[in-house]
């Protein structure tokens, strides 16, 4: 027996959405145990959805997450439309994509500027950072505001939009309504390009790892609402087969279920996975910036995910402007269908990654069964693995810095604990050498 037991504890991880804790047990040579503890109170959406009307699913599931409500609305809509064999027109599809662009911009910029960037520059918050770097914070807020303006026009409001329904929208905008928004988006797009360059210039800890990346892949576009589920290890399945290849398991230390690939194990969803599997389908403007910055796929260092988020924001602006320029108001704002007994599922790309919904409904249109798999519960196991593999390379750091690095490593994934259900406390325990 040699060495002294050390413990580092952070009771509540800041700058993530929701509540969680982390427990790490290690000694000088090994990391013995990493547990990302999620104990945000469960809210039982899958249980109380049963008996509710199928038309309510998009609005009710939006309430799972105030940061990415559109993602829940999109997955719920597409799953119900899958059940009812309802295929929206291409105009309606484009409008949904436009709404999603607004959410990607808003959610990514919230993470980039308010939750993630302070880590790289050594500030506790974006407000504190604004004192020394006012231009970066103000520009980030302008970009975020443009995303929110898009959500407001098309969705009615930023948090829990009210305008989407099964079959389309309650009301579709006129061409004129986009005029002033177009100017705002175009100005913010230029700021977003600057933000990409700024993010790429940040100092990144070296932490390249091997991941199995999982994302939707669509030959025609950078994925949002449609595509097959593919992985960097060769998985290529239809969304219908999701549950044949992925399984959720419950662990004692978390109120969120862990998701694994049955054939292998942990995997990663989210911006890095999308970027690595879909790079050729980013806009020409984004690829030009990425090439200039020498930022090519694959990106396997989670600290660099801040650059990927900025590039995706830039892509969302290009995509939004393209959709607005080609916009023709749909003939009808929505399509209608009678409910019948059926099952349906869908996966869409939430800002944080693949979001899977499956529903069963009866002949009266009441929900009989619901299953929801959020991106963060899919990434939980990968986050634990990342910490286990990262720590040995940074053992030379003083413990206070090591603790900060672990917190940063978690924030790299932009975990949305409210989505996965949830609470982050950090307990880093240094065992005596040779014990356990």
């Amino acid at each position: 027996m040699s060495g002294k037991g050390k413990t580092i504890k952070v009771d509540y991880l800041a700058r993530v959405e929701g509540e969680g804790a982390l427990f790490i047990r290690y000694d000088d040579n090994h990391v013995h145990e990493v547990q990302l503890k999620i104990f945000e109170p469960p809210r039982f959406f899958e249980a109380f959805l049963r008996g509710r009307d199928y038309t309510e699913a998009p609005d009710i599931t939006a309430r799972i997450c105030g940061i990415c409500p559109v993602a829940y609305q999109m997955s719920a809509l597409h799953a119900m439309e899958d059940a009812l064999h309802l295929v929206p027109t291409s105009e309606l599809k484009a409008l949904r994509r436009l709404l999603y662009c607004g959410e990607w911009i808003e959610s990514h910029m919230l993470h980039v500027s308010m939750l993630h960037a302070p880590d790289f520059l050594g500030y506790p918050s974006a407000v504190a950072m604004a004192k020394d770097h006012p231009e970066v914070v103000q520009q980030a807020l302008e970009i975020k505001k443009a995303g929110n303006a898009l959500l407001r026009l098309l969705g009615g409001r930023e948090v829990h939009p009210i305008n989407v329904r099964i079959g389309g929208f309650y009301r579709t905008p006129t061409k004129e309504q986009f005029e002033s928004l177009r100017e705002q988006l175009s100005a913010a797009r230029d700021l977003a390009e600057r933000m990409c360059r700024w993010a790429a210039s940040l100092p990144f800890p070296e932490n390249t790892q091997k991941f199995e990346f999982v994302a939707l892949v669509n030959p025609d576009e950078y994925p949002m609402n449609e595509g097959r589920i593919q992985s960097s290890e060769g998985l290529d399945i239809s969304v219908k087969d999701y549950e044949k290849h992925f399984r959720e398991v419950q662990v004692p230390h978390s109120t969120a279920l862990h998701s694994v690939l049955i054939e292998r194990d942990s995997y990663l969803v989210g911006p890095m996975a999308r970027f690595n599997l879909n790079y050729p389908r980013l806009s020409t403007g984004v690829k030009r910036v990425a090439e200039e910055l020498g930022f090519n796929p694959p990106c396997s260092n989670p600290f660099k995910s801040i650059v990927v988020r900025c590039l995706e924001v830039l892509h969302a602006f290009d995509e939004a402007l393209r959709i607005i320029d080609n916009y023709q108001p749909p003939e009808h704002p929505y399509l209608t269908v009678e409910p019948r007994e059926a099952n349906g599922c869908a996966a869409t790309e939430a800002p944080r990654g693949l979001l899977y919904h499956r529903y069963g409904i009866n002949a009266q249109g009441k929900i009989t069964q619901a299953k929801i798999v959020a991106p963060t519960s899919q990434n939980q196991k990968t986050i634990e693995k990342d910490l286990r593999l990262m720590l040995p390379n940074f053992m030379h750091l003083p413990e206070s810095q090591l603790q900060g690095l672990c917190e940063r490593a978690i924030r790299n994934y932009d975990p949305c604990i409210s989505c996965s259900t949830h609470f982050l406390q950090l307990h880093l325990q240094h065992d005596q050498q040779g014990s356990s």
Partner: protein, 274 residues
Amino acid sequence: MVPHSQLIEAEEDKPKLAVWKFTSCDGCQLSLLDCEDELLLLAREVEIAYFMEASSKVEEGPYDISLVEGSITTPNDVERIQEVRRQSRFLVSIGACATAGGIQSLRNFADVSEFISVVYAEPDYIETLKDSTPISAHVPVDFELQGCPINKLQLLEVISAFLNQRAPQVSAHSVCIECKLKGNVCVWVAHGTPCMGPVTHAGCGALCPSYNRGCYACYGPKENPNNESLCHWWAEKLGADKATIIENVRNYNALADHFKKIGEEWGKDKKRTS
């Protein structure tokens, strides 16, 4: 309630603001970060002393003003809200979860142990209360800001009223008045669309009717709503069935007194018996 003018000592003599999260989706506290034009200005007026979603810097209490998001659903929540109250001079509950139990209070009308088994394979690991309850069921609350989600401009108004020692100007009238102010055509009268507007608290700016949709009451009940009449009209004139009427009061504000009452009257056979 107008708070006493004596501030708790803070850096630069600014009032100390704290933001607390209980069981919720984070959307209402996010409204504060969505104030892109006002956030940095606000930070000059108040000291953001505790806001875990936005800052890793934690200042000890007590706090001048606490914004509380979320409902109480675990034994730990029950203890924590008492501590938050002790540490707060002025406590504002924000959003439908904090003011009326939130969507998760649908569990109150069902068997929660069965709910746990639907979602989790090993229910023994899960610690949760039978009911989801609003903040006011546990501690005195100085002001309640309704809405799922809250309106960020109303939130700024509440903070601003606090800073200026006056009562917040938050209209308690119905969504119908907001429609009239906007010049909306009534979706009910003109299109026969069932709408909760007549009994629903203002604050959203009559969003749903502005988008040709009936209001679904995400801002909860207005002051003195005429529920009986509304339900009668829904059933008699619009042909809404009982299930639809109950669904419209048992959603985001199911525990708000007026909505709870409608739910109980119309859903007698669905009441929990345990």
